[in-house]
């Protein structure tokens, strides 16, 4: 009788015991490993996971003296304010448009660079130019901001000097919001094309040399070889890179936008992305509620997009999926 009653109970107990024995056994066997991974886990928890609690601010009416947890709830008011003011849609659109243009140009340029650098026979020339093209990655955006000022400012900018020298009228670029799309695109490519080209060069180097030999034997000239072998072979790399960029489509490069645009108010409507908008709102109006709502909106949407994109990438090539 006792045995029958104990039967199911002891089975569950056994299962639970084996689970905790697993962890305990792992700890007993490998506790140095746990200790070694502890620092980064603690740092991650304190610096990245705990601050996520601040996202609650999106739903609260923040009062400084009450802190995050003491302030009263305000439901979806902050979100409503973000979108009804029209700002929400505008900065979202800006972010998407800029990321799209920037991705296409910088990746396109990177592919072009990679193909030329890999296929050209003058190796010393390509080494030098590759170094030059990769250099911008090392320069902080503050210096780039200086460049932009150097070139485009009205009184002393190099652009206006050049225009005056050829007899044309100087332009005040800072009052022409439409032009900045192209300026930002140019500087974004300037900074990232070299960096991205390294990835494509690695992919091109992975192309099976036998394929190339076969093409040469069949009499393909270099253009045909590039079009029919090199490009199709790196298509997987291209698609994965593009997909990864798409996954980040709602994240603007704050450093780039902030340094290039600075505080020129006329340009805000055309060039504000979610990140710069959040920062500006934070520093000028101090409305933590709305800025939190914008950030939460961005983080959640980004997460959803990356998850979808990753599933797509995993279907194409298991190895390259993020998770």
């Amino acid at each position: 009788m006792d045995g029958e009653e104990d039967g199911p109970v002891s089975q569950t107990e056994k299962r639970e015991k084996s689970k905790s024995t697993g962890l305990r056994k792992e700890w007993k066997n490998n506790y140095p490993l746990f200790l070694m991974i502890a620092p980064i886990c603690i740092l991650t928890i304190v610096l990245m996971y705990l601050p996520m609690s601040g996202l609650l601010l999106a739903f609260k009416d923040y009062h400084y003296n009450m802190g995050i947890f003491g302030s009263p709830w305000s439901g979806l008011d902050n979100f409503r304010f973000f979108f009804i003011s029209g700002k929400g849609l505008q900065v979202t659109l800006n972010t998407i448009v800029y990321n799209t243009i920037n991705t296409i140009t910088s990746q396109g340029l990177a592919i072009l660079l990679a193909i030329i650098i890999s296929e050209m026979t003058a190796k010393r020339f390509t080494r030098v130019t590759q170094s030059l093209v990769f250099l911008p990655y090392f320069i902080s955006w503050i210096i780039v901001g200086t460049f932009v000022y150097n070139i485009f400012n009205f009184e002393t900018g190099a652009l206006n000097n050049f225009l005056k020298a050829i007899g044309a009228q100087p332009v005040n670029v800072y009052s022409m919001p439409g032009v900045w799309k192209w300026i930002i695109m140019a500087f974004n490519s300037w900074k990232w094309a070299g960096y991205n080209s390294v990835i494509y060069i690695a992919a091109i180097n992975n192309v099976d040399p036998q394929c190339i030999e076969a093409a040469d034997i069949d009499g393909a000239n270099i253009w045909q070889r590039i079009a029919h072998i090199t490009i199709p072979e790196i298509k997987p790399t291209i698609s994965i890179m593009l997909l990864m960029q798409v996954g980040r489509i709602l994240r603007g490069d704050f450093q780039m936008f902030y340094q290039i645009i600075g505080n020129n108010g006329q340009l805000f409507n055309a060039t504000d992305v979610i990140d710069t908008f959040v920062f500006r709102s934070l520093t000028t109006s101090g409305d933590l509620g709305m800025t939190s709502a914008a950030t939460l909106y961005q983080s959640v949407l980004c997460f959803i997009i990356i998850t979808i994109v990753n599933a797509r990438v995993r279907k194409a090539d298991e190895e390259s999926a993020l998770f």
Partner: protein, 306 residues
């Protein structure tokens, strides 16, 4: 003898097929254009720093200085307190941050590459999730300032850049190339994990350590974002942010003027700013040729994983 000479000459004059020649020309033109575009901003910067202030105000920035003058640099080096202080801060956080980050990251990478560790994947995902979703600027800012009391502390510049999961994964890739059998035989010989890590794992991934060190050091050197968010006292500004402060506010410039006992009017404002930018980014450009290949290797390894 003559025949072989003739043959050697003929062999060295085998021409490339016309398509290749055309391609090479296209390549040369395109690469030259792109390289020039990459160089142009730097030339403007250096030229601006070596031009006299009057020439800038009168003629603007140009590729070659209209009136050569080292006035800006003279001022900078005669009263270098601001720049030296900023350099000191940057060097400190770079050295401190890179060392700590390297230790923390390489230890974790070691753990994650040990196939005998049961919870590898769980820890991986736990760490990796932060790249997919995070609290964002606002939550992090509020949390750091209010709950961690990091306002105006140098740790606010060091800590955020230590938790870089991307570099952790690169490090793990490097360490995964060490066969597990080496670790197993070490354990059989009675070595503890720490000993294996310090005596075996680290020496075997020297080039990986070099690569990740350079990446992290560059991040620290160029960081201005954290300084902008958290630092309030001018003495604690790192190099890039001090430069930004100088460029963006006349107040900072006037403080420099008063510390140099020069009146604001006499300060070569424009060329001084350019000179500061040159000095701020000079070290990076000087070190660049030596470290370029490490970065290229790191990017390649990082992209192979995805």
């Amino acid at each position: 003898m003559q025949n072989s000479n003739v043959m050697r000459k003929k062999a060295s004059r085998i021409k490339n097929p016309p398509a290749t020649v055309a391609f090479n020309w296209v390549g040369v033109i395109l690469l030259t254009i792109m390289s020039v575009f990459c160089l142009l901003p730097f030339i403007l910067l250096i030229s601006g720093s070596l031009t006299s202030e009057e020439a800038i105000v009168r003629d603007g920035f140009s590729l070659i200085p209209h009136e050569f003058s080292t006035e800006a640099y003279k001022l900078l080096f005669r009263y270098p307190q601001t720049i030296l202080r900023a350099y000191g801060v940057t060097v400190f956080i770079t050295v401190m941050g890179t060392t700590l980050a390297l230790l923390v990251i390489s230890m974790a990478a070691y753990v994650l590459c040990r196939k005998s560790f049961r919870y590898r994947n769980q820890f991986s995902f736990f760490l990796y999730f932060t790249t997919l979703f995070n609290g964002g600027m606002v939550s992090t800012y509020v949390f750091f300032i209010r709950y961690l009391h990091l306002k105006d502390s140098l740790w606010a510049l060091i800590l955020p850049l230590m938790v870089n999961v991307f570099y952790l994964l690169i490090m793990r890739s490097f360490m995964s190339s060490i066969p597990e059998t080496i670790f197993e035989s070490c354990k059989i010989d009675g070595a503890g994990e720490f000993r294996i890590y310090f005596q075996f794992a680290l020496p075997l991934v020297k080039s990986g350590l070099a690569t990740v060190t350079l990446f992290i050091a560059l991040d620290y050197w160029n960081d201005w974002y954290n300084a902008m968010l958290y630092m309030t006292s001018r003495e604690k500004f790192p190099l890039q942010y001090m430069l930004y402060d100088m460029l963006a506010s006349t107040e900072a410039l006037s403080q420099l003027a008063s510390s140099a006992n020069v009146s604001m009017v006499d300060i070569p404002g424009q060329s001084l700013r350019m000179a500061m930018a040159v000095v701020a980014t000079g070290p990076i450009i000087l070190v660049y040729p030596f470290v370029q290949k490490y970065f290229e290797k790191g990017i390649t390894i990082g992209s192979v994983k995805g």
